[in-house]
């Protein structure tokens, strides 16, 4: 048991939960404003691809990270136009965008690297910029877990705090929440629901693009087709099981990160008797259990997934 559970497992948990955390925060903001975003999987893969490609061609992972964010936001803009301006069903739009995203990355992969599958490794990954925060990293347990990490992990901590503050303590946050609960009331006080929802979807594009960049240029040095492996959906589950709140989504993501870390750890220990596939599915099973067990105790935003047309609002 002691070789299974140690400090490294906790470090791995935080690291592996980072992409899920980032996407889950995007999901919280997006769903709080009333938009269902199942396109997150696609936004992530777009972010991962452009981060790796730009990092590969410029040789600078930081520009790659920015590229991932920018293209993630651009791609999420399509979801915004489709659901808010064109009144398309949110789930349909999300599914279509996922299909589009996987097709696009497959095509561009051939264009930029000359072959499908996995890209050439980038010269330096963001993982090389791992640094320990002085003093804080000396604290036992918490120090190595939280303060000896790589850049995007730190960034995700800042993003958690920032968006937690925004949703709870600022006017914009209030408007985002109102947009999901009672959009007509928000429109009545002179705030554009359309604008709030665009901002929210772009926020999820930002976080998912960053999450994609984490996958391809921080946790890895290459982009692989389909490397998101359902993390966008897991993030959605983290958001739901976290009760549509930022801290809840973070804890939910840590749970999935733990399942992932545990799975990798068990695989590396190599039990002969049990096939490894039974452990690989652990994060997915954990997701189902979490959604099943916890969804009852929380309440979704009231108009989540509903279309908003001011001229047709009846109440």
């Amino acid at each position: 048991m002691s070789e299974l559970f140690d400090l490294n497992l906790v470090v791995a948990m935080v690291r592996l939960s980072t992409p899920i955390t980032l996407a889950a925060i995007g999901a919280v903001i997006c769903e709080r404003s009333g938009i269902v975003n199942i396109a997150m999987e696609g936004i992530m893969i777009i972010g991962a691809f452009f981060a790796a490609t730009i990092a590969y061609y410029t040789g600078n992972p930081w520009i790659g990270m920015l590229g991932g964010i920018v293209f993630g936001m651009l791609f999420s803009l399509i979801h915004a136009v489709a659901t808010v301006t064109l009144h398309l069903d949110h789930v349909v739009s999300g599914a279509v965008l996922n299909i589009l995203a996987f097709g696009m990355t497959r095509y561009l992969m051939v264009q930029f690297f000359g072959h499908p599958g996995t890209s050439e490794p980038i010269p330096t990954s963001l993982g090389a910029y791992r640094f320990a925060v002085p003093l804080l990293s000396d604290i036992p347990i918490i120090g190595p877990v939280l303060f000896n990490q790589t850049p995007i992990v730190y960034l995700s901590f800042l993003i958690i705090i920032f968006f937690w503050f925004v949703t709870r303590r600022t006017k914009v946050g209030l408007h985002i929440r109102a947009s999901g609960e009672h959009p007509l009331a928000l429109e009545t006080i002179g705030v554009s629901v359309v604008r709030i929802r665009y901002i929210s979807i772009l926020t999820s594009g930002f976080t998912c693009g960053l999450a994609g960049a984490f996958l391809s240029i921080e946790n890895n040095t290459t982009f692989t087709e389909g490397m998101t492996n359902g993390r966008g959906f897991i993030a959605l589950a983290a958001n739901i099981s976290g009760g549509w709140t930022i801290p809840g989504a973070f804890i939910g993501s840590l749970f999935f990160g733990f399942a992932d870390a545990l799975q990798l750890r068990i695989q590396s220990l190599g039990f002969e008797a049990v096939p490894e596939e039974l452990f690989i599915i652990l994060p997915y099973v954990a997701t189902i259990i979490a959604v099943a067990g916890l969804v009852r105790h929380s309440r979704a935003p009231k108009t989540l997934g509903a279309d908003f047309r001011i001229e047709q609002s009846s109440d």
Binding site: T85, I99, R106, F233, E277, L278, T287, I288
Partner: protein, 418 residues
Amino acid sequence: MTNNQQPSSSVLYRRGVAIVIRVLLIVATMIGVVLYLASNFWAMALIILMPLLLLFHREHGDIAALWQRSILPFLRTITIPAIGFTTAFIVGAIIMIITGDNPLLAYGALFYGGFVKNWSISLLNAVPLIFTGLAICFAFRAGLFNIGAEGQYYVGAMVTAALGIYLDIPGFLAIPLLFIIGGLLAASYNIIPTLLKVKTGAHEVITTMMLAHVARLLSPLMIRNFGGHISSPHPLVTYEISERLWLPLFSSFLPNAYYRLHTGILIAIGVALCTHYVINHTKIGFEIRAVGYNRRAARAQGISVGKIYAVALLGSGLLAGLSGVVEVLGLNHKLFENINAGYGWNGISVALLAGNNPIAIIFTAILWGALDAGGQYMQRNVQTPNSIVEIIKGIVLFLLVAKYLYTFVFQKIRRKQS
């Protein structure tokens, strides 16, 4: 007693001739379909021409009436799809020009490959897509989104591959049996999402998607246990199923047919017709549609929404499972890792493109299959990467589902004019 209600013999004669003409035309259409399926491309002309003649006959040879009542409405319904496709192909051409490919050459190869040269492959591609499209459509009609059809497809394929190795009974018994067992087990794979949806309200998009990943990731385990051992000559592939269980090939009775084209396409079309019947002409189908249109109104009418959700999700799982069964029995005869992943996703496209109409799904699936087959032909012959097809498909889909786009553009134009 006068017998004035009895029609005169000349009227009877004319009616008889009319019936004979119709029957002949319908038979000609069917022959066209069979010939088309069996590798005679130009039989498509029969398929198009015969219904036209039938309509022409029904309108008593009045071309103006035919145009007004049949052709014009048809043209109207295909206007938006036509615009969507044209736009998508233009966007695709722009992308190709930017990345340095010749769009004219590429599109020429795409259509020649997809619809003329390799269209048996198009039909072959369409078979599983029809099933997964129907699966998505069936759940969609009840307002549910079975995004994890891929998982149920895997279950169907795994069950068939496993049982097919050991089942040693004649094909006419075993094939229906495998369809039933594979379908039912794939449907039962949806029991967990169904229970969670009905009991706790957990969204089926997340649960079915996660189960799809589980099925995909567990398939190597199953493959290892049924022949794909590291020490065997073909790792990651199961043993082949016994030859008695293969679906009959078209080439066994039509010598011209492509050697891999199997009769699964006929089963797929049959299942599509059945699904159409169930959705539109039965009580359960009515209840499914009622729940899909307005859940609360349906509940007020005394329809049990939970029951309908269960029927829709399990039925959807069944249809997706049949897709895996038919793929193993007809085409691959074995299971390998990542056996053509993506049918679940493409099924979503096919169903959305068809507007969740089971009959239209047959055609959109063939279209999607043709784009895939043409894409591969294009890649081989003019070296344009076939994933451009994926982009075009994505754009087409987006332009077709975003129906409000056209209203929006139209309003903008009108506002500018006034």
